[in-house]
């Protein structure tokens, strides 16, 4: 029964992936991509990786989907404005198919051999994590790895997110600065629904964050839920980015700031970088994770809200500045 389910799941994954590539209509491709993300989340569940499944569903399918739909809307707005561009899209050059086909077959054979002839690992990290988890300050092994054993990786990953949002802010046309933005459309149903749903969304986000210390969950998943709530608010016409603009920078960087401050201040006691003092690991990890949740939520939301509005003219500013 499980095998049959896995086979169907695998085939569905392949088919949606093919659908993304073969679809002529961009919007259709994006919808296929979201379906692909949801199926992939199911695959992670089948592989006993519920943390990844949560992240994939929230970020891979959810927020990436929102960003892509937004991008498609921009593209079609521009296309409608300019008939010449329409032609450009239709006559996109046909690339030869043999290169991707050969690469895929080659990669398939390579991976098949690599898995078939894989030696038995002599080191078992899961065992070592289990042996040391009592010292880590949390009960959930994934959180222990992300926030304690390999916290340095996580610190740099937060920096990656921060850089992404800095780049998005830098690309926002300089002249615009919130003056010419049209007020968001007011939709009473969406407005009312969001107002009533918001407490539940925030509660779920906080629960997922809290749960991370003893079961699947944590800052990334909680942050993604927070970001989704903010996107809802923005879409419902609450103009979150305007209220938050002054505090936005601090909010974006807060998680990283707290993480780095903790990492450095422990060195004053003569401990190595990122070593939590004995007995305080649990509290410090939760504190860092709470700040990270806030920042990750704001960062993911900003990637959405930094997009120029759909007026079309702003999107073309680059052309005017061209020399």
């Amino acid at each position: 029964m499980n095998l049959a389910f896995d086979i169907v799941l695998g085939l569905a994954l392949l088919l949606t992936a093919l659908g993304v590539f073969s679809s002529k209509d961009l919007f259709r491709a994006v919808v296929m991509f979201i379906a692909f993300g949801l199926l992939l989340a199911l695959v992670w569940v089948r592989l006993d990786a519920p943390d990844l499944a949560l992240a994939e569903a929230a970020i891979g399918a959810g927020l990436t989907g929102v960003l892509m739909i937004d991008a498609v809307a921009h593209l079609s707005a521009n296309t409608l404005q300019n008939d010449q561009r329409d032609d450009q899209y239709d006559h996109s050059p046909k690339r030869p198919l043999w290169l991707p086909v050969i690469s895929c077959v080659g990669l398939f054979v390579l991976l098949l051999g690599a898995i078939r002839f894989r030696p038995e690992a002599s080191v078992s990290l899961p065992d070592m994590v289990r042996d040391n988890i009592a010292e880590s300050g949390v009960e959930h092994p994934i959180t222990a790895v992300l926030l304690n054993f390999r916290s340095y990786d996580t610190l740099l990953e937060i920096a990656v997110l921060l850089v992404a949002v800095v780049v998005a802010m830098a690309l926002k046309p300089a002249a615009e600065d919130r003056v010419h933005q049209p007020p968001p459309a007011h939709d009473p149903i969406l407005h009312g629904l969001t107002a009533r749903l918001l407490p539940a969304m925030l509660l779920v986000g906080m629960y997922v964050l809290w749960a991370g210390s003893y079961m699947p969950g944590g800052a990334f998943q909680g942050g993604a839920i927070l970001a989704a709530a903010l996107v809802f608010l923005q879409l419902a016409g609450f103009a979150v980015d305007r209220y938050a603009a002054s505090l936005l920078r601090l909010g974006l960087a807060l998680g990283f700031l707290v993480f780095l401050t903790v990492a450095v201040s422990v060195m004053i006691g003569g401990r190595p970088f990122l070593t939590y003092p004995e007995g305080f690991a649990g509290q410090l990890i939760f504190f860092i994770e709470a700040m990270l949740t806030l920042s990750i939520g704001l960062i993911l939301f900003s990637l959405f809200s930094q997009n120029p509005p759909h007026s079309g003219a702003v999107g073309h500013q680059g052309a005017n500045h061209d020399q």
């Binding site: 070592m128 850089v163 830098a170 960087a253």
Partner: protein, 492 residues
């Protein structure tokens, strides 16, 4: 306080300051921060020189559970190089960005994140940590390319992003395979555990392909010239001098340090052939360019090719030849970094002065803006490999290695490559010394700030100076596996 984590904390802290307090004079603050960084790098360099390599367990968790940082001879050389180039680029940017207020706002946070990521890569002893470092480098670099927001900058940046992400995926897939086969991500442990089997070779092949894309080795180089040629001058300098070196560094560590003995001789020769093709293709394309910055960008494509010659020269050859190849290759990396940074900065000044990117616009400027042209020339001397310069010493070591191991075909490649480099460098000089144009009083539109000219000249002088002081870094650049004993030495 241990210096190793300090080299990560300084750039990360300054990145936060630049991001959160945009109203401060970020340029001077950055130069100050770079000074601290330079001193810390120099102190670490000295301590490794005296006490040998050091390892540092982050979070007090030993590998394989935790992440270990390693500071050996190569690492500290690259750290010092990065700090030195970055501080001069920061001084240059201080003056250069006055004309670019919009770009200035976001240049400094990205600059500091880029430096943190580079330092992180030089120090990393863990394969997955290297992946995170690569991602941070890539995103910061792409951001810097697109800073101006102009259409061609966006197109170049997007192309760069796609290529780099593809490279990252290849690398990550290889890391996952190695982890599943050996259960650890620590490079030192992997070097003892890795066996020559399908899984290892498949993993290393995938990682190599990914890193070749990121290093822009022919024929995977197409993203580099528009990205490096189209960016702001200080950004181009940082990208060509430092960013592309980070992925090559991982490649070299992978095959010659962690996986020494695993690279088949045929594979090493193939990597060499790619390098040779890069040298000739990049050289010819550089010769054909009409825009000066594109000429310098294609020169980077060619010069990166020399780095790939390390693999055939150090694989399946005698220890003496391998050592010469390793030292020559790494010295080339350092010398090219200084020379290319100098070249992009001086070219940036020239473009500002004549108000055009065309090479033809440089006609007759030799008498008008001699300092920048001199810096360009000095950098060119090192790129061509003429004595005395760091480039000459590097090529000389590689030539010696090729002759010791009897690989005469690489001797030919090395010599012809230098000739080709000379051709495109002199192309610029022929135009700028055009007597007719000088007589007509052509040239210079705007006066260049002396700070711009001096910083480029300083970098070029260091590239030349490496020819006299090459013994200093070479002493530290011995093949890592030969000093594995020393690696165990100092721990925190």
């Amino acid at each position: 306080m241990n210096l190793i984590p300090l080299l990560l904390v300084i750039p990360l802290a300054w990145a936060l300051i630049s991001l959160l307090l945009p109203r401060l004079p970020l340029g001077p603050i950055a130069v100050l921060g770079m000074l601290v960084q330079l001193i810390a790098s120099a102190l670490l360099w000295r301590s490794v020189q005296l006490d040998g390599a050091a390892r540092y367990a982050i979070g007090d968790w030993m590998a394989p559970l935790g992440i270990t940082l390693v500071a050996d001879g190569l690492t500290v050389t690259l750290l010092a190089m990065t700090a030195l180039i970055a501080i001069i680029c920061a001084v240059y940017a201080l003056f250069y960005l006055r004309a670019h207020p919009h770009e200035k706002r976001y240049f400094w946070p990205l600059f500091w994140f880029l430096l943190a990521a580079l330092n992180g890569i030089w120090l990393a002893g863990d394969l997955f940590n290297l992946y995170v470092g690569l991602e941070l480098v890539t995103l910061a670099a792409v951001g810097m390319v697109t800073l101006s927001g102009k259409r061609n900058a966006l197109a170049a940046g997007l192309r760069y992003l796609y290529a780099a992400l593809l490279g990252s995926l290849g690398y990550l897939l290889g890391v996952a395979l190695l982890y599943s086969a050996y259960g650890t991500l620590d490079m030192q442990q992997l070097s003892q555990l890795m066996e020559n089997n399908w899984t290892t070779q498949a993993a290393l092949l995938l990682m190599t392909l990914g890193l070749l894309v990121k290093t822009a080795i022919f024929p995977l180089h197409a993203w580099l010239p528009p990205a490096h040629g189209g960016a702001l001058a200080p950004v181009s300098a940082l990208l060509s001098a430092l960013v592309v070196k980070s992925s090559f560094y991982i490649l070299a560590r992978l095959w010659l340090d962690a996986g020494s003995g695993l690279l088949p001789v045929a594979g090493a020769q193939l990597l060499g052939v790619l390098g040779a093709s890069a040298i000739f293709y990049g050289g010819f394309k550089a010769l054909q360019q009409k825009e000066i910055k594109m000429l310098v960008a294609y020169s980077t494509v060619a010069q990166l090719g020399y780095l790939m010659l390390v693999f055939p020269l150090a694989t399946g050859t005698s220890p003496a030849a391998a050592m010469l190849a390793w030292q020559g290759g790494m010295l080339h990396l350092v010398a090219h970094a200084f020379a290319k940074a100098a070249m992009f900065l001086s070219v940036g000044t020239l473009v500002l002065a004549v108000g055009s990117k065309q090479i033809s616009a440089l006609a007759g400027i030799s008498t008008r803006i001699p300092l920048s042209l001199f810096a360009f020339g000095l950098a060119g001397v090192s790129l061509m490999g003429l004595p005395p310069s760091g480039g000459f010493n590097a090529k000389w070591l590689m030539l010696q290695s090729a002759m010791t191991s009897g690989q005469w075909h690489w001797v030919i490649v090395l010599s012809l490559g230098s000739l080709l480099t000379a051709t495109y460098i002199f192309k610029v000089f022929r135009v700028s010394f055009d007597q007719q144009a000088i007589d007509q009083g052509k040239g210079v539109v705007a006066r260049a700030h002396w700070g711009l000219e001096v910083s480029a000249l300083l970098l070029a002088a260091i590239a030349i100076g490496l020819g006299f002081a090459a013994a200093l870094p070479i002493e530290l650049l011995s093949l890592p596996q030969l000093e594995n004993g020393a690696l165990e030495g100092v721990s925190p």
